[in-house]
């Protein structure tokens, strides 16, 4: 077997050193009844690279890849161009095959990357500090709510109706078990986000308000107003960013008064990957650092006086604090953080701003074009690279019809909000720098034909 270096004679020599007759003698603690003597049901013997590659390639071929067709899906996962050097660098064996940097003297590469990553996230979010990553945006969102509850010693959370429904489901699922009180506002198909309704819900028991920016329908909430209202009642503002590229163009949440900013970092460096692994981003005010979840990398010096980096403030974490830890997270998204960081290093701040500008420009072209189709209108008063268009009928069927014509034409609100019947004519359309003029035209022509009742 190509992955197993021991030879039969190695094994024999080692058994002799150990002083046992056979390998079964090493499994003596396993009761006979628990030992699997027969074959593993249905699993063939080991296979060559060629054979496995054939099997996996056949499975991959059953999928319609985003890059092969006009593509307009977003809703928390965005298709951006990832520079070739990113994937090359993350496959350096010293990054790819390292563990969490528990021995800092021989992990300065990973640690310096984490320090740079934390700085990049903090500057993009406009927060004082950021951690070394969480699993993804949805789990980071729940951790932010828990952290706010620890800080405020309150247990009531208000979720904007503009929060991604999967994020809301994660929060409500977890809150069922922790007994936190979650107030979820219902999404509505109106031009502006539900800032006023969110503000009305904030009371003296409220720990945090959670607002997505831009929201799941692509609208942009007025964070400063919500922050002021929250702070007036002693509550914290948690802002969720599912498209970090937007922050190249719209103001950083931390600058507008957010106390904790979490996000999904998949847009930069990571790719679509059918939903994972992704990258949870987590930034906050410095004064809350002892209540943060997850790993933190900090600067220090070594015994010879050289600058170096270590994991720090570990007494917050599970391996030391056990049941009193701020979170149970251990493994996070290190390699995805590296990919994000490399992509952002290539771009720089000016590059992010230009990338954001291009995304917005393509979105303007798309929505201008779609709005010219009879029966189609744009919902949003403002948008960055994603917005909701209103169709004359249920968007779920339209999305399937578009796929039949070789176009991945957005995410239907019926898929995202299955029980909210009033939303089902909404189609969420995302546009990035990868979208071409031809893609836009092909999408518009197909959509017009489908709505006109033409068969493919």
């Amino acid at each position: 077997m190509r992955y197993l270096p021991l030879t039969s004679s190695d094994r024999a020599a080692m058994l002799e050193t150990i002083g046992v007759a056979g390998v079964d003698d090493l499994f003596v603690d396993v009761p006979a009844a628990a030992r699997l003597s027969g074959p593993i049901e249905g699993l063939p013997p080991h296979a060559s690279e060629m054979a496995v590659e054939r099997h996996m390639t056949a499975l991959a071929a059953k999928n319609l890849s985003a890059g092969s067709v006009p593509f307009f899906l977003g809703a928390g996962a965005y298709r951006h161009h990832v520079p070739a050097s990113v994937d090359h660098l993350i496959q350096r064996g010293e990054f790819l095959t390292a563990y969490t940097p528990y021995q800092p003297e021989i992990a300065q590469g990973t640690l310096q990357v984490l320090f740079e990553f934390q700085t990049q996230v903090a500057r993009l979010f406009g927060t004082d500090i950021a951690n070394a990553s969480m699993y993804d945006g949805s789990t980071a969102c729940w951790e932010a709510i828990l952290m706010a509850a620890r800080i405020t010693r309150r247990g009531r959370t208000v979720l904007s109706g503009g929060l991604h429904p999967h994020y809301g489901e994660v929060v409500r699922t977890m809150a069922k078990f922790t007994q936190d009180d979650i107030v979820s506002l219902a999404p509505e198909l109106v031009a502006d986000p539900d800032d006023a309704a969110v503000i009305t819900q904030i009371d003296a028991d409220t720990s945090s308000v959670v607002v997505q920016y831009p929201d799941v329908l692509g609208r942009i909430p007025d964070l400063a107003a919500i922050a002021d209202a929250a702070h007036a009642k002693g509550a914290l503002l948690v802002v969720v960013v599912t498209e970090p590229v937007a922050l190249g163009m719209i103001e950083a949440p931390g600058v507008l008064g957010a106390d904790i900013v979490v996000g999904e970092g998949q847009s930069l460096g990571v790719g679509l990957q059918f939903g994972g692994p992704y990258l949870g981003l987590f930034g906050c005010r410095e004064k809350f650092v002892r209540q943060m979840p997850g790993r933190l990398c900090g600067q220090t010096v070594d015994a010879a006086g050289k600058r170096g980096f270590v994991l720090t403030l570990s007494t917050r974490e599970q391996h030391i604090r056990r049941e009193k830890a701020t979170s149970n997270i251990c493994t996070n998204s290190g390699l995805c953080a590296l990919a994000f960081s490399i992509h952002l290093t290539l771009l720089g701040g000016e590059g992010v701003a230009r990338l954001a500008g291009l995304n917005h420009e393509k979105a303007q072209m798309t929505f201008d074009r779609l709005a010219r189709i009879p029966g189609v209108s744009l919902l949003n008063a403002a948008y960055f690279n994603e917005a909701t268009v209103l169709l004359p009928r249920d968007a779920r069927e339209v999305v399937r019809d578009l796929a039949d014509r070789g176009i991945l034409g957005g995410v239907s609100l019926g898929r995202l909000f299955p029980v909210a019947d009033g939303l089902h004519n909404g189609l969420l359309v995302a546009v990035t720098e990868t979208t071409t003029d031809d893609d836009i035209e092909a999408f518009a022509v197909a959509l017009e034909a489908i709505l006109a009742g033409e068969t493919a």
Binding site: I40, F177, G276, R322, L338
Partner: protein
């Protein structure tokens, strides 16, 4: 002092600047220092060619616009590639040598797995595409689920948890949901004192109270002590098997029976599944839920701290409560996603959702490739060779380092040593740092907590005998120096990119982000952050 380079950055040379053979650059041949990207880059550089937008932003966006671009310097591609390549050389990885971290299963990462995960049909697919356009992706999830169920002898598997600790949470929430369905409010989870820190942290995160179970002198769960704590308030136990001392729990079935008899459930931490894959099915031991770290047993790369993946296999009793979403296979062979929209059709007891989307697809692709590559014979050989390698290290070193449980028989895939018997003032830390100078990544140290100065060595099956012999020679040599009181060990490592780092300073005055402006050496000077 050396002169600053064009960007104003100069390496922190520390004491090396005074050495007789000091270089002017601060680099020493292939030992290369590297600045922060922010110190190298500048605002007018970009490594991505982007045309400038040709039209003004939409009017609706005006009031939301950022006043200035984020203050982050850019780098061109050659500078970027060099920056990260130089940084990578300050890291140890499995590709360089043994990485025997006990409990972490750092085995070789097959490159076919990487190649398969990057096929556009897997890597460039959106999680919310119409299901007809992602049948192959759903089939990967379904096939991997099938093999995980088969290998563990369980009824079902929840695929979406993102890592081991997230899987633990999934399992405990299934237990909570099952108890809720029975109308019972049990609030205690029993956890052995040798457990991973994630176990008690997860139990608390899921709203349970944690009670500790002691270990026997032979390093196993004390069955009598466990039984004495069982009662109507006990929701379940969390047992690691093989346990964190590297030993199989021979009483696992009896533990499970006792817990079930009082109406509780058995959670198994599957971090050490590598020792028994293909040899023992946890389902045959009475386990109700167990997470599988795909980044351990099934060798998805750890990447310097993740991503992982932590699917949770479930017994018949817990299967109905598995979280959304999951994949089912239709009679015609087509794949179907069960989500909030259709969960009520036969899956109404699902406890909710743990993540956006479907879990760690990129890890599923790699793990499935790994399983198919190894096959039935290869997986069993994995477990046998992992256990053989660990026992070889145990017996080859037990005369120089105390092995607290070696007298009670063979270990599983990890060899556990203690620092008892070193010269006064010497400890596990010195041995770990001494191994770094010898060119090895140290073993897990000071864990499990039940052994003084614990050293947990997990070689894995992908080490050759010759490689193990070199490691053993070094471990024996460093242990002997610690027994002989060789003071130079206290200052080890001498030859790593950094000497021992001041962790106290880092924690007392946290510097978590770079404070400077682009294109300038803006980090605090060493004296400002308290260095010498």
């Amino acid at each position: 002092m050396n002169a600053p380079n064009a960007s104003g950055w100069r390496p922190s040379l520390g004491d090396a600047a005074q050495a007789k053979n000091a270089t002017s650059s601060g680099d020493y041949a292939l030992m290369l220092e590297e600045a922060l990207s922010f110190e190298l880059g500048s605002a007018d550089k970009c490594g991505v060619d982007l045309e400038a937008p040709g039209r003004a932003p939409a009017a609706g966006l005006a009031k939301f616009m950022r006043k200035a671009a984020p203050v982050l310097p850019g780098l061109t591609e050659p500078e970027t590639v060099r920056h990260y390549t130089r940084l990578s050389r300050q890291n140890y990885g499995i590709d360089l040598g043994p990485f025997p971290l006990g409990s972490c299963t750092m085995k070789h990462n097959p490159r076919l797995n990487e190649k398969m995960a990057r096929l556009p049909g897997f890597a460039d697919v959106h999680p919310l595409q119409p299901q007809a356009t992602v049948q192959g992706a759903l089939e990967v999830i379904e096939q991997l689920a099938h093999w995980l169920i088969t290998l563990t002898g369980m009824a079902s598997v929840a695929m979406s948890p993102k890592a081991g600790a997230h899987g633990e949470l999934c399992g405990l929430l299934c237990i909570r949901a099952a108890l809720d369905a029975r109308g019972e409010k049990r609030d205690v989870v029993l956890v052995p004192e040798s457990a991973h820190g994630t176990n008690p942290a997860t139990a608390a995160f899921a709203g349970f109270k944690v009670e500790s179970i002691p270990a026997t002198p032979a390093g196993r769960v004390d069955l009598a002590a466990l039984k004495s704590k069982l009662g109507p308030n006990v929701a379940g136990v969390m047992i690691t098997n093989p346990n964190t001392c590297g030993l199989f729990e021979p009483d696992m079935r009896a533990i499970a029976d006792a817990v079930h008899a009082v109406g509780g459930y058995v959670y198994c931490d599957g971090a050490n599944f590598n020792a028994i894959v293909g040899k023992v099915r946890p389902g045959d031991l009475g386990i109700d839920a167990m997470h599988i770290n795909l980044h351990k047993t099934f060798s998805t790369p750890h990447g310097g701290g993740g991503p992982g993946a932590g699917p949770v296999v479930l017994s018949e009793a817990l299967a109905p409560f598995a979280p959304l979403p999951f994949v089912t296979r239709g009679d015609d062979g087509s794949m179907h996603l069960v989500e909030e929209e259709n969960a009520s059709e036969g899956h109404g007891q699902a406890f909710g959702r743990m993540v956006a989307f479907h879990g760690q697809m990129g890890m599923f692709t790699r793990a499935l490739t790994y399983i198919l590559s190894h096959g039935a014979d290869g997986l069993r050989q994995v477990a046998e060779d992992a256990v053989l390698n660990a026992n070889y290290v145990l017996r080859a070193c037990a005369d120089v380092l105390p092995a607290p449980f070696a007298d009670s028989g063979p270990c599983m895939h990890e060899a556990l040593f203690s620092d008892s018997g070193l010269a006064p003032g010497f400890s596990t830390l010195d041995i770990a740092k001494g191994l770094i100078d010898e060119g090895f990544h140290p073993m897990t140290v000071y864990f499990p907590l039940v052994v003084k100065g614990a050293m947990l060595v997990e070689p894995t099956e992908t080490e050759s005998k010759a490689g193990l012999d070199r490691f053993i020679t070094s471990l024996r040599s460093v242990a002997q120096r610690a027994k002989d009181g060789d003071d130079s060990l206290h200052a080890a490592p001498h030859y790593a990119p950094r000497r021992r780092l001041d962790e106290t300073l880092a924690a007392r005055k946290p510097v978590l982000v770079w404070q400077g402006e682009p294109g300038m050496a803006g980090t605090p000077s060493l004296s400002e952050i308290g260095g010498s």
